[in-house]
Symmetry: C2
Subunit: 479 residues, 2 copies
Amino acid sequence: MNDIPHMTPDEFRKHGREVVDWIARYMETVEQFPVLSQAGPGETRSQLPEAPPEEGESFDAMMADVDRIIMPGITHWQSPYFFGFFPANISAPSILGELLTAGLGVQGMIWATSPACTEVETLVLDWLVGMLGLPGKFKSDSQGGGVIQDTASSSSLCAMLAARERATNFASNEKGITQTLTAYTSNQAHSSIEKAIKIIGIGREHLRLIDVDETFAMKPTKLQEAISADRAAGLTPFFVSATVGTTSSNGFDPLTAIGEICSRENLWMHVDAAMSGTAALCEEFRDIHDGLEYADSYCFNPHKWMLTNFDCDCFYVADRAALINTLSILPEYLRNQASESGEVFDYRDWHIPLGRRFRALKLWFVIRHYGVNGLKQHVREHISHAQAFASWVKSDDNFEIAAPHRLTLVCFRHKEGDAINQRILDHLNHSGKMFLTHTKLDDKLTLRMSIGATATKREHVRQAWTWIREAAQACEYND
Amino acid sequence: MNDIPHMTPDEFRKHGREVVDWIARYMETVEQFPVLSQAGPGETRSQLPEAPPEEGESFDAMMADVDRIIMPGITHWQSPYFFGFFPANISAPSILGELLTAGLGVQGMIWATSPACTEVETLVLDWLVGMLGLPGKFKSDSQGGGVIQDTASSSSLCAMLAARERATNFASNEKGITQTLTAYTSNQAHSSIEKAIKIIGIGREHLRLIDVDETFAMKPTKLQEAISADRAAGLTPFFVSATVGTTSSNGFDPLTAIGEICSRENLWMHVDAAMSGTAALCEEFRDIHDGLEYADSYCFNPHKWMLTNFDCDCFYVADRAALINTLSILPEYLRNQASESGEVFDYRDWHIPLGRRFRALKLWFVIRHYGVNGLKQHVREHISHAQAFASWVKSDDNFEIAAPHRLTLVCFRHKEGDAINQRILDHLNHSGKMFLTHTKLDDKLTLRMSIGATATKREHVRQAWTWIREAAQACEYND
């Protein structure tokens, strides 16, 4: 039998340095790439062989293909000129944490399969309770606690599941759904809420999309009306998801008013702060969480705006027993003394997957590298860029602001209507110079300037504004 | 405002090399660590500060803590003496792929957000159809296709969801569950099936755990009886999950017989080959998939036994429209020309999360580095180690083999009963020299020798067998 062609540790040293250097060069040159990939459908694949190699290839050949074939198919989320969707910002210490996680290759499904994987995660999630000023009930020394999930979509799903079980005395897990439960969120909430209610067997018809006010925040009176109407119809309200910073326009639902309703009506209140929660690092923005003391669960994503590589969503519950009782499974081969003692957390029971990697390492690295003050500076700087951008928009007669812009998302549009805004968008994105995306607000096509890439500085935002105005002029002439 | 303390590209070069060197040293020395962490509950956390640092710390301080505090809390899944649970083997090219993914920091939620992320994934999953000899209907040029999920648990959940929707004409998503659906799997199946039926609102009471034969394989006659009984009771059978290599004892369900039943009864057939599917790389083991042509969905995990870092589960469906129609959501801010053309895959609609990282890169690196032949050698070598181990057990009068052992899991036990087997297990695991786990078969405590760490060679397996016999002797004397 031939030897298996493993890469030796010395070869790994050599190629590892090459990849590290490649990434460092990428950091230095990322702003030179077209932000939105200019590749057409199938263009990347067509350059790659349709069959895998029978014999192994050199690492150099692989990296050459990365440069030649993969890179033109990349949309550069790390470009300082990436203003699309939401940020997915990363940082050097986070990349190194991810590398170390990969090198250790541990499975943290239960405490015993790597105690440090669980304990560092619990510790860092406790740290974040303090760092964001979250209610103490989310800390592990209370009845609650935090866990890293892949995404806020999964957190919403787990929150809704635990709510379903609490509302049915943990009978739905056993008997299936036997009554008509109803859930509530605003018509601006993330699509994951709709996805979750479909998944858990309650059905989209039983999700009420509550109207919002002129700031795109849920109207509590409308929420109360919907709940009362459902109760009057013999249905069973069980869950409300409030959003701290909606995806479309960064609207903030009024948590206190919603929380009072949830408390009175005995509904599970989930708060989704995926993107905006990070702002609470700074005392002056912490009021975005006012009312969070009512919440049964909460999540925010360090992988959006806290310099941490995807995936890293921090999900908290006030009553961990409700979550664990919902998701727990215990096959014989996972039984062990530590779990049965009740002294440890087994995070497999806190989410859908069984397996899990040591994701806390990168988050721990980020917090330690930057320190709390460094992260605050990061937040303040991005917010100041967005506020500057908004001021430039306001001072230009051709454009208007379309929504409040307290943090880093500025929704704006050319005043001449959808057609020109679409042309501006296409013109900018096809140029490759910068990338931004759109939404609809008040049924009007609206441009979204979402600031949050690690590399984005004031000069990039200023340059972007210049390009936007130039694009507007070019598109006007095209009429 | 102070500068944000980002790590510069040059600092990243320096620290990146340090982490690469650290991992290379770890590869060289991993067998010297106690395999099962000897840390007690709370021991890792108690050495770490209860509050995060206000100001950033040096990278050296972080790495020193990794060595001093984290490492004693690690259970070394990469040790050549790790024989517990199932393998989670990794490789140098996979680690470098993961590093590159982290450095690029792209979001592949839809095709347009990085075309290469989607297209390399589709390509590599097509490659694997050929490499494993899977049915052509799972390739993207048919009506089906593959996607990377985090875990087989999530794949089972998505399969069951798509089955639920197909069985209810996509009405459950809208109206919720309004009829009593029933699902089937063997009593040896993975706990994720039970977790999934709870999650999707059907309830554990409606999962039938079918009896197995003496090889721990599902009995098709019992499956047919259960389905018929449910139909007679007015229930609606909709889903069967068959296992290719159960977790507990590596039993193989008879796919052809089960498939014929599913076909006749019009049930969705899912096949979970999480650990064992990798064996099909080799023609001589490909019969484990005989009957897979009946399957509606299939998954296996390169992150278990194919040298690829977690997370990387390959999930295939024969009818991608059923999956996409089940999970699709389309908020305005994700609308784009490429998606609406229908020319591209948007993988957000193939699983629970919205966000996704470029996980195909590590898988592409693994296949290209090893080549198909290198991966086959890897599979054959581990299987040969397990067969050698089984032969040693058989030749020892104190031990017996407890289940068939075609691949890399050998279930065995000391003949004197549960007590001594428990003592042997505890003795070995507490020694730190090697790690193995247990199961119950025929209601007897059974030791599981699961071979599959990248570093495990014949000498390690031989050494383990010596330690097992020594432990048995020591435990006998303890009586």
